[in-house]
């Protein structure tokens, strides 16, 4: 697989996973190629997206935020209104259908914020598949509501205690499970990361976000927006939002990554700002690492952004300058969380709150009569306890 073959985005991407997984990845790739062209598969996917997920999700004009920020008109692409409350279900449904087609009876997933675990447990219940979710022990604590829901849906949560006990470790553990059970199991990777073909498959299933947003906006306004913004952890909601707009040169694109507590190593997850090229979880991408190539633990107030790598396509988009990636600190995210909740009556996920902070900066810069769409990747019910705890700490 050379750099000119599919699976690379510029110099990033590829397949750098243990040999034991190669056959499964090749099977997945060829199955997906076939299904992508199959009318029956497309129809089935559309059926579930419409009748189970609740697509298309609305594009909401945020009148009060627009006034409050005093710049560009603000629009929200409402992935929070999907069944299970985030964009993750788009991909989970798609991959579960692939798994079903391949005859795999068991699905596994990694999860940080629990949204992908929840989405996978949900499709596992709906399709009657045995489901196992790997979740860092720290995340089981801070995203306890989701952990409980996952179990209630009949999936098994396996808490991972290694290392920082967050998303990176959960991902490693899911890969190990897959290596052991590769003939019976499909690993539903939850973000646009991992060895080829995962970054492409996840991107394709999430592309529905941007495709819908673009045509909804165009229909209502007879033009394209001036800018779009999304938050970037592994990068699935963002690449899904960006994909349909990449060729629209007049649309400025912004990604919001977790600046955490500050620029010190170990205190942020700002891969696109501080990462260097490397190899993690089967892909060549930007990674936060030390001078010896050891991965540095990531930090973010939002479990879903707490990952030291990023999808390879984002690494490429950053390198060629198509997307402007900016850092947002924990504190800025928390402020945006509260602001959006009070002003717009929508409790966003802490992950999404990062996107709102960048959107506010961009909206000001754009000025009036311009339009900006924010991907509202998920709702924040899961974060309420954690936010209250953080506010309590702040007020001490």
């Amino acid at each position: 697989m050379g750099k000119n073959l599919p699976g690379y985005f510029g110099e990033f991407g590829g397949r750098y996973s243990p040999e034991i997984l190669t056959e499964a990845l090749e099977e997945l790739e060829s199955t997906y190629q076939k299904l992508k062209k199959s009318k029956k598969f497309k129809k089935e996917l559309e059926y579930y997206l419409r009748n189970y997920v609740g697509r298309p999700s609305p594009l909401t004009y945020a009148e009060r935020l627009t006034k409050q920020w005093g710049g560009a008109r603000i629009w929200l692409k409402r992935e929070d209104l999907n069944h299970t409350g985030a964009h993750k279900i788009n991909n989970a449904i798609g991959q579960a259908l692939i798994a079903k087609f391949m005859g795999k009876k068991r699905i596994i997933a990694e999860t940080g914020a629990g949204q992908h675990g929840l989405a996978t447990a949900t499709v596992g219940a709906m399709f009657g598949m045995e489901t196992v979710v790997y979740m860092g022990a720290v995340d089981v604590e801070r995203q306890n509501l989701n952990a409980k829901k996952i179990e209630m849906l009949g999936a098994k949560i396996l808490p991972v205690t290694a290392g920082e006990a967050t998303l990176k470790e959960a991902t490693s553990e899911a890969m190990r499970d897959w290596a052991l059970n590769v003939s019976t199991t499909h690993y539903i990777v939850g973000s646009a990361i991992g060895p080829h073909p995962f970054p492409t498959i996840v991107r394709d299933f999430q592309a529905v976000i941007g495709t819908e947003a673009r045509s909804q906006f165009k229909k209502q306004n007879k033009k394209l927006p001036s800018a779009i913004v999304a938050c970037v952890g592994g990068g699935s909601n963002s690449i899904g939002m960006f994909h349909a707009f990449l060729k629209d040169k007049q649309v400025a694109i912004y990604g919001a990554e977790a600046g955490g507590l500050g620029p010190k190593p170990g205190e942020h997850s700002a891969t696109l700002t501080y990462g260097k090229t490397g190899f993690l979880h089967g892909t060549k991408t930007l990674i936060i690492q030390d001078e010896s190539g050891q991965i540095v633990p990531a930090h973010s107030v939002s479990a879903g952004l707490d990952y030291p790598g990023v999808g390879p396509e984002h690494a490429h988009l950053s390198k060629i300058g198509r997307v402007d990636y900016r850092m947002v600190t924990d504190e800025q995210a928390l402020d945006s969380f509260l602001e959006v909740t009070r002003v717009e009556g929508i409790i966003p996920a802490l992950e999404t709150a990062h996107a709102f902070h960048v959107a506010r900066e961009v909206a000001k810069d754009l000025g009036k009569k311009k339009d900006l769409i924010i991907c509202l990747s998920g709702r924040g019910d899961k974060d309420v306890t954690e936010v209250l705890r953080l506010l309590g700490e702040k007020n001490k």
Binding site: Y16, E19, T22, A162, V182, T277, G293
Partner: protein
């Protein structure tokens, strides 16, 4: 011919014993003693693990070893110093590194290989660098220029076509992964192990050594009847884990275990 390959052809043993342990667990100086002990008690080739923070191909025992090692500040200088000390103890035994690709890439391939070679390393095993990547091709070329080997992994799931393609850029020996999953001790092996190894011997003109899951003298004996070598990692690492805080206890436990395995596969 590569040093490793000529060792296999020397007729010194019927089946090679290839132990593995992670450098720096519990500290770098103890690693030197562990390395010497393993060499003195019958390693034909020794695999030294360079710790990487995210070892996705490894099971819990080696994961814990890596975590303990990384509690010491990781440095390539320490890795090469320890390697050299082990090499100088018994220069005739080939040493190879097992590590993930990221640290090597980060160090810089040429710089890493030059220093590894100076320290006595003659081959590399990299579980997350498939042969069909540009990086693997570059690495193979750079290794060849230094008369060093690139040892590839083949698994029960590897298809014929892939095995044939892989034989072009592998040297030294083939690391045959005996079972699905990650490293760690196992009670049983796949039923077609013997047939797979025979097929590999016919397809790839290299010694075929079996690893992943082997721990007991009986298992080693059995598999050595048809494999050119036996690789043992987790079981050795467990001996270190159980005795590691007491260097002399660990050394004698290691000596005991290594000599038992060596005796079982002669």
């Amino acid at each position: 011919m590569s040093k490793i390959k000529s060792l296999f052809e020397s007729g010194k043993f019927k089946s090679a014993f290839i132990p593995y342990f992670t450098l720096g667990d519990p500290n770098y100086n103890d690693s030197i003693e562990f390395g010497k002990t393993i060499l003195d008690n019958g390693a034909d080739i020794l695999e030294l693990g360079i710790p990487f923070s995210d070892p996705v191909a490894d099971g819990p025992v080696i994961q814990r070893a890596v975590a303990r090692s990384l509690k010491n500040r990781f440095s390539f200088d320490e890795i090469f110093r320890v390697t050299k000390a082990i090499h100088d103890h018994k220069p005739e035994t080939p040493l190879v590194y097992l590590t993930y690709f990221n640290p090597i890439y980060h160090c810089g391939i040429s710089k890493f290989l030059d220093r590894a070679k100076e320290s006595g390393i003659i081959g590399l095993v990299i579980p997350d660098l498939p042969f069909d990547t540009d990086e693997s091709e570059t690495l193979f070329r750079e290794l060849k220029a230094r008369d060093m080997d690139l040892i590839h992994l083949v698994t029960p799931a590897s298809e014929k076509k892939r095995i044939q393609a892989l034989s072009k850029t592998s040297s030294g020996f083939i690391y045959y992964v005996t079972s699905f999953g990650v490293t760690g001790e196992r009670r049983e092996f796949s039923v077609d192990l013997q047939e797979r190894i025979r097929f590999l011997k016919e397809t790839i003109r290299l010694p075929i050594c079996a690893g992943f899951g082997i721990s007991t003298p009986d298992q080693a004996n059995q598999i050595s009847q048809y494999a050119d070598g036996i690789i043992i990692g987790s079981a050795i690492q467990r001996v270190i884990e159980e005795n590691g805080t007491d260097r002399s206890k660990a050394v004698s436990a290691l000596a005991d275990y290594i000599s038992k395995i060596r005796a079982a596969i002669s």
